[in-house]
Amino acid sequence: MEQRVIEAEHIVKKFGNFAAVDDISFYVEKGEIFGFLGANGAGKTTAMRMFCGLSRPSSGKGMVAGLDIWSASEKIKSRIGYMSQKFSLYSDLTVGENIRLFGGIYGLDEERMKKSGDMLLKKLDMYGEKDVLVKSLPLGWKQKLAFSVSVIHDPEIVFLDEPTGGVDPVARRQFWELIYEAAGRGITVFVTTHYMDEAEYCDRVSIMVAGKIVALDTPANLKKSYGVNAMNDVFTIIARNAGRNE
């Protein structure tokens, strides 16, 4: 059981009568790259926000990093990283200052902060941009920086909400290298995306339709059971079926 970083049982989130997340159950194992797929409005972000302690489920049970999402949501926050859809570092602070701020917030001491800050800058090849205001960086760089800052405290799991939206293919490629690198350090990655080529990079993927998880397996198994060659086709078939049911 310790090997499971997320355990969700019958999680529901209702807004009025509308169930944005409608009874989902799944688990994520330690060190996995877990792809959380679904069309726009399928409930991915809503589900993710519950695991990050940003919103409270209407019902259901859940554990994140070994802690209960109902009773220990504040404790969970020091063990997770999060990168939202919207770019969300402080644009009027410099690269170095953002690293320092979030390092400080996560309780890194000065020495460790300096070390991991320098490492991070070197890894991103942004050492020269340390004193540049974040708002003047190109989007692809910003996203890479935001990701690196979100794992600066070596969390058990990092949640990425459409991290590569609006980024060019080369930058996306580099971004996934960073994800692999983080996974190699033992950080579990929970990522939502619309890009089906990215889904292929994941260890396992789930596909959400109208608040429910309708498929969950490794990309290879999913392709086999749907009898197609690409995740793109799997997604299209599932989305078409969903359309027919309505």
Binding site: C52, G53, L54, S55, R56, S73, E74, K75, K77, S78, I80, Y82, S84, K86, F87, S88, L89, Y90, S91, D92, L93, E97, R100, L101, F102, G103, G104, I105, Y106, G107
Partner: protein, 356 residues
């Protein structure tokens, strides 16, 4: 300590902002150089249309006296009341002074002459002051010398500026330390950084405190600028101690910025926050006795004004500036300020939700 990093962030953002550091200096400067001149209820140079039916030496002397005073100015001498009334209707004159036939004679025989004073009271203040001034002048004229019996305590020249400036300083604090924090958090909500903070283990208390401290300093700086201007430009030095002023201001700044934070926690967009803040500021300005004395409000409004915190600081400021009161004389005001500061800031911390 997390608060150290949060404070670093707030101060850097403050000094990097294109307008905030300038506002702290420019706002008190501008407001204190302009407002004391326009928020002035003293009435001067009212235009008088005179109907002199007496045509005596005495009546002419009185008319000259009226014309020479700084409150009145002779507009015209008319033959009858109807013509004079036309002057008022056209807006050329504010007051009609009718001296009946026998005005001079009455003065010499009975010493009790009568005159008619009719004032355009569309502007109530101008109206009542005009009647008052003119009657007083007539009384002075009758008794031969303009001896007054009233004594104006503490503000001998009844200078309205002396009354308004301490209150205007309070208004500066309301605007600077209430509005800006309100917009600050909402801005973080809109840019998405708020959500990023909300997924971190930062405690609500340290986040709010880090927001408050810069505004606290900013408020005290602009108050100091305000005090300097009032000394240099208006020659106004508080009769009481600076300690009392600053102590009150420190409490008050915490209070209004707390209100700003509550609003920004409740609002999700800038326009929402702005409207709420306007609403609050409107009540603060009109109900706190800033322009119109609380004592002249109806009973229900006087009761309500106890819920309007600026009232206490305005009271403190005026009494320190004009009468030289100390902390002990203002113990009620200080306790009420303290109470509101604590309550509002508890509300600010509680209304900040990291989870929806």
């Amino acid at each position: 300590m997390v608060i150290k990093y949060l404070l670093e962030k707030e101060f850097k953002q403050f000094f990097r902002s294109p307008i905030l550091p300038k506002i702290v200096f420019a706002y008190p400067l501008l407001v204190l150089l302009i407002f004391p001149w326009v928020t002035n209820f003293n009435v001067e140079d009212m235009k008088v249309s005179v109907v002199d039916k007496d045509m005596s030496e005495v009546s002419r002397r009185f008319i000259r006296k009226v014309d020479n005073s700084k409150y009145f100015q002779l507009y015209n001498v008319r033959n009858n009341y109807g013509e004079a009334l036309k002057d008022i209707e056209k807006g050329n004159a504010d007051v009609i002074l009718e001296l009946p036939r026998g005005f001079g004679n009455d003065l010499e025989t009975s010493g009790n002459p009568e005159a008619l004073v009719a004032v355009n009271s569309v502007n109530e203040i101008k109206g009542s002051l005009g009647t008052g001034y003119l009657s007083a002048m007539l009384n002075g004229f009758v008794s031969g010398n303009a001896k007054g019996y009233g004594m104006n305590m503490y503000n001998p020249c009844k200078d309205y500026k002396l009354y308004m400036i301490p209150a205007i300083m309070v208004m500066i604090l309301i605007i600077l330390c209430g509005f800006i924090p309100a917009l600050n958090i909402v801005n973080e909500k809109e840019t998405g950084t708020m959500e990023q903070i909300n997924v971190t283990p930062v405690s609500r208390f340290s986040f709010i405190l880090a927001k408050l401290i810069p505004f606290w300093i900013m408020g005290l700086v602009s108050l100091t600028i305000g005090i300097l201007i009032s000394v240099l430009v208006y020659g106004m030095v508080p009769q009481g101690s600076f300690l009392t002023i600053y102590l009150g201001a420190m409490l008050f700044v915490f209070l209004v910025s707390g209100i700003g934070l509550v609003i920004s926690n409740k609002a999700s967009t800038m326009p929402q926050a702005l409207f709420m803040m306007f609403f609050v500021v409107m009540i603060f300005v009109l109900m706190s006795g800033l322009f119109t004395p609380v004592s002249s409000m109806p009973l229900w409004a006087r009761c309500f004004s106890y819920l309007v915190p600026p009232r206490y600081l305005i009271d403190i400021m005026r009494s320190v500036y004009i009468r030289g009161s100390g902390i002990a004389d203002n113990s009620f005001n200080f306790s009420m300020l303290f109470l509101f500061t604590v309550l509002i800031n508890i509300w600010a911390v509680l209304s900040y939700r990291k989870r929806t």
